[in-house]
């Protein structure tokens, strides 16, 4: 590997920023092509029903309407990232069993394609759908045991995934404990609320490929799912990402992709060569894409008076919603992370993902980690209180260290630094490491009758890259141009820049490894016709995976350069160490190949009259291995922390009987600048990951994980109340305070 020269560790500006500040960047909804038609989706807007009949006869007769597509027009009427359990369009007439059922309000029934947007609207109203409503299944805990009422009648149960971990002897571990803490927790749904609603445009390109320009997270997965539904070979589908207006996991599953492809392909078969464009409204976006999973948790943990955690038992039930999306993977993470970054000798975990008629749940920054961390950190903080030990001290006695065995009975990958991260964070927040162990600082601010102050601690770890045996690789192609010296270089890479700055990082790696100025690096990105399989922009994996792929491709290209090949062109597919799935009985597995580590302290005040919580200070310490671009890293920490703050304190997604009561940004409130902490102190540690590119770890998710449990601990310190359910809206806080009296 080349020596670090000049570009890594530098806060260079994002090369896409210039276009973005001048309004010139094109997001999917900004692209117009000559002669384009418009598409609108008819959503079911009811949670559970059988479609008896769809009458489109009036709609298709409206002048200017080009086509109305229903289930019978979809060649293979199914899709899904993990399993093909979702119809592209619900209704009678396709071969997919039970596709005439709608299972959540955002299920799609028809696509209307017309000359103008207002015509699609008009035609939509002329479609007549006859529904037979079915009982709504909305509580995952009930649905788990109810085999009479099924969301998918072709399955035996609403439970579509179950994992278990059996490590050591739980009963023995509980017996050894001096205290046992039992807990029941509920974590809420969260909406991504990326600022750019779903949009895209599709056309047939010069090589007869159905081409879709859209905002997503994984070009090649989009391509594969579209190809499956259209029954075409993947190379007949081309997916291109222009500028992407945020994602956070919310673009990992299909939204407009298959619809657009189907529409353009259908028009072509009708002999009409017209691009098709669509833009979802915010309301369509909120009912149309998945959310963060709610979890229902029962748990008991035991510890000795010396602060040794002896046993942890956890049952997780998660609401998958109507379709699987990435639930099985998200739950894998939660299953691992619900016992925290601690070495616990006796562990029993059972987790269940359950179908309901709610909006599907899936990927969202942290991917099961925040829910797992909430359980583990609240339990550890409660244990610390029960044995009268400092929360940092109890952690120091149990944290995972180099060589520690995880709950899944395999050692951690090398480069474990959670103890250093906890140490740093505690120190920064004023903890003292005395001969009696770690001691929290005294709260400096005075409590009044009304305002109570508190400080809370939590820490977490987050996997980098795909887990549990999922195929994991990343491809880069590099071209070196010039005569005697390399004059410029081209990188071909699919990795999606969802706003986090992935492309900036790619260019920095290239410039560093080739010792070229930034402007001599040209990037061709995210186009399945030109760039190779990169995997998704998720799981905090892009810096790590793409970085390693670029290092490999540059090294290969340099070898060719030395052999006088001009241009020197090389491709490289990086494959990290293998992971393995849970053993069905014991859960034993090698879950991940790399982790990032994080700790947070939250300092806040609670107004006991209004229930309002005000954040004074957040300290966030993240081991990122190597900060390839410190400015971008801090941007991720600040952005994740504010998003976590929304999750912990204010974002209240209301769903009853499968219907959504918060489908707009005026009913679903996310943080504005006046809601955020007065101070976010982000501290970056750089303990190299032994297999990270130039030592880098992934980090985009981890600042999210410990935030909520740190807030809950601080609120407990302020008020004496443990909140086992959030968001901690003023209403929830005040009603608990009144309960306590």
């Amino acid at each position: 590997m080349s020596k670090i020269k000049h570009m890594i560790g530098k806060s260079i500006e994002k090369p896409d920023a210039r276009d973005k500040v001048t309004g010139q960047a094109l997001y999917p909804g900004d692209i117009n092509l000559p002669g384009q038609a418009y598409m609108k989706v008819l959503f079911a807007e009811r949670p559970h029903a059988i479609i008896q009949d769809i009458d489109i006869s009036k709609a298709v007769k409206l002048p200017g309407v080009i086509a109305v597509l229903t289930a019978k027009d979809v060649p293979v009427n199914e899709y899904g990232l993990i399993m093909n359990d979702q119809p592209v369009l619900c209704g009678p007439g396709s071969k997919k069993p039970f596709a005439e059922r709608v299972r959540f309000i955002g299920d799609q029934v028809a696509l209307i394609i017309a000359e103008s947007e207002s015509l699609t609207e008009q035609a939509k109203k002329m479609i007549n759908v006859e529904y037979q409503d079915l009982p709504v299944i909305s509580d995952a805990r009930e649905a788990k045991n109810d085999h009479g009422k099924l969301v998918h009648p072709d399955r035996e149960s609403n439970v579509f995934c179950h994992y278990q971990i059996r490590k050591g002897d739980l009963e023995k571990g509980l017996h050894e404990a001096d205290v046992i803490i039992e807990g029941e927790y509920i974590t809420p749904v969260q909406e991504h609320a990326f600022l750019q609603p779903e949009a895209g445009i599709a056309y047939i390109d010069e090589e007869d490929r159905v081409t879709i320009m859209v905002a997503g997270q994984w070009t090649h997965e989009d391509q594969e799912q579209i190809a499956h539904s259209l029954d075409l070979p993947p190379d007949k589908i081309r997916v291109i990402y222009p500028a992407i207006g945020g994602a956070f996991g919310g673009r990992e599953d299909m939204s407009v992709q298959i619809d657009l492809a189907l529409a353009a392909w259908h028009l072509m078969k009708m002999g009409i060569h017209k691009p098709v464009k669509t833009i979802w409204s915010r309301e369509e976006s909120i009912i149309g894409h998945h959310k963060r999973h709610p979890y229902f948790v029962k748990t008991r943990w035991g510890a000795t008076h010396e602060g040794k955690i002896t046993a942890a038992e956890v049952e997780l039930v998660t609401d998958g919603g109507a379709y699987a999306y990435t639930s099985t993977k998200v739950m894998g993470n939660a299953t691992l992370m619900c016992t925290g970054p601690y070495e616990i000798p006796n562990v029993k975990v059972d987790s269940y993902a359950v179908y309901t008629n709610n909006i599907p749940n899936g990927a969202f920054r942290g991917f099961g980690g925040p829910q797992g961390a909430f359980v583990a950190e609240c339990q550890v903080n409660k244990l610390a209180e029960a044995i009268n030990m400092d929360p940092v001290e109890i952690r120091m006695r149990n944290l995972l260290r180099e060589g520690s065995l995880l709950s899944v009975d395999t050692p951690m990958p090398k480069g474990v630094t959670i103890d250093k991260v906890v140490h740093k964070c505690a120190e920064k927040a004023g903890w003292k490491n005395t001969d009696k162990g770690w001691q929290a600082p005294a709260i400096s601010k005075k409590n009044t009758d009304i305002i109570k102050h508190g400080i809370g601690f939590a820490c977490s770890y987050k996997n980098v890259g795909f887990s549990f045996g999922a195929p994991e690789s990343c491809t880069a192609k590099v071209e070196l141009h010039g005569k005697d010296t390399i004059e410029h270089a081209i990188l071909y890479h699919s990795g999606a820049d969802v706003g986090q700055g992935a492309h900036t990082i790619f260019i920095q790696f290239m410039a560093e490894l080739l010792n070229l100025p930034l402007e001599k690096i040209h990037l061709i990105a995210s186009d399945t016709a030109r760039t190779g399989q990169s995997g998704s922009a998720s799981a905090s994996r892009i810096t790590f995976m793409a970085g390693n792929s670029i290092v490999g491709a540059v090294n290969n290209a340099l070898k060719k350069w030395i052999n006088n090949e001009r241009p020197a062109i090389a491709e490289y597919e990086f494959r990290p160490p293998k992971t393995t799935p849970f053993d069905p009985q014991t859960g034993k597995c090698q879950p991940n190949f790399s982790y990032g580590y994080v700790a947070q302290v939250v300092d806040l005040e609670v107004d006991t009259q209004t229930g309002k919580i005000k954040l004074d200070k957040v300290i966030c310490v993240d081991d990122v291995g190597k900060a390839v671009n410190p400015l971008l890293v801090r941007g991720q920490i600040e952005g994740a922390t504010v998003q976590a703050q929304g999750y912990a304190l204010m974002e209240n997604f209301i769903q009853k009987e499968g219907r959504t009561y918060t489908p707009t940004l005026s009913t679903y409130l996310i943080p504005t600048i006046l809601d955020i902490p007065e101070q976010i102190n982000s501290i970056i540690l750089e303990e190299a990951d032994p297999i990270g590119p130039l030592g880098a770890r992934g980090m985009g998710e981890m600042p999210f994980l410990p935030f909520t449990p740190a807030v809950v601990a601080a609120v407990h310190a302020a008020t004496g109340i443990w909140f086992d359910e959030f968001p901690l809206t003023p209403e929830r806080v005040i009603s608990k305070l009144h309960e306590k009296g």
Partner: protein
């Protein structure tokens, strides 16, 4: 009811004459009819601020205004603020301070801040925070936006001297 109405609007210094439907929103007029896609739409009902433009010197939400209401008025959008080679100091500061990630919210922030800085060329952090409290950003956590505004104000004040 849908008879098109003739309007005359000056956008970024250029005059446009168009016939528009009475219910056409200013945001759609700018984006579709004039193909000025630097104005973004994030919520369609006044909550996110992404669609903010300047009308006769004042920040307005173009998703809450009909195109016909802009008849005879002057509009400024992010597309006209600076060019790629000659950025406005505020745009420059947004780049330098990493005040954007996905950038979808950025034009709305710029168009909110420009009139604010004209009125208040030397703002405190507190005043900046209040000025942008109606604009949503889901990526940055806002801190860098405040820094960028501060930096731009210092630069612009220096130039004005």
């Amino acid at each position: 009811m849908n008879t098109p109405i003739n309007i005359k609007v000056k956008v970024n210094g250029k005059e446009y004459k168009r016939a528009v439907e009475p219910r056409l929103l200013l945001s759609d007029f700018l984006r579709h009819d004039l193909e000025l896609t630097g104005t973004h739409v994030g919520c369609e009902h006044g909550m996110c601020g992404a669609c903010t433009v300047i009308m006769d010197g004042v920040s307005v939400r173009s998703c809450l205004i009909f195109a016909v209401q802009a008849d005879g008025h002057e509009i400024e959008t992010a597309d006209g603020l600076g060019t790629e080679d000659a950025l406005h100091p505020l745009q420059q500061a947004f780049m330098e301070e990493h005040a954007l990630q996905c950038g979808f919210c950025t034009p709305g922030f710029l168009m909110t801040i420009i009139p604010f800085l004209r009125e208040n060329p030397n703002p405190t952090d507190e005043e900046i925070r209040t000025a942008i409290d109606g604009n949503l950003c889901r990526c940055t956590g806002y801190e860098n936006i405040v820094k960028a505004v501060k930096k731009a104000s210092v630069k612009m004040a220096g130039k004005a001297k």
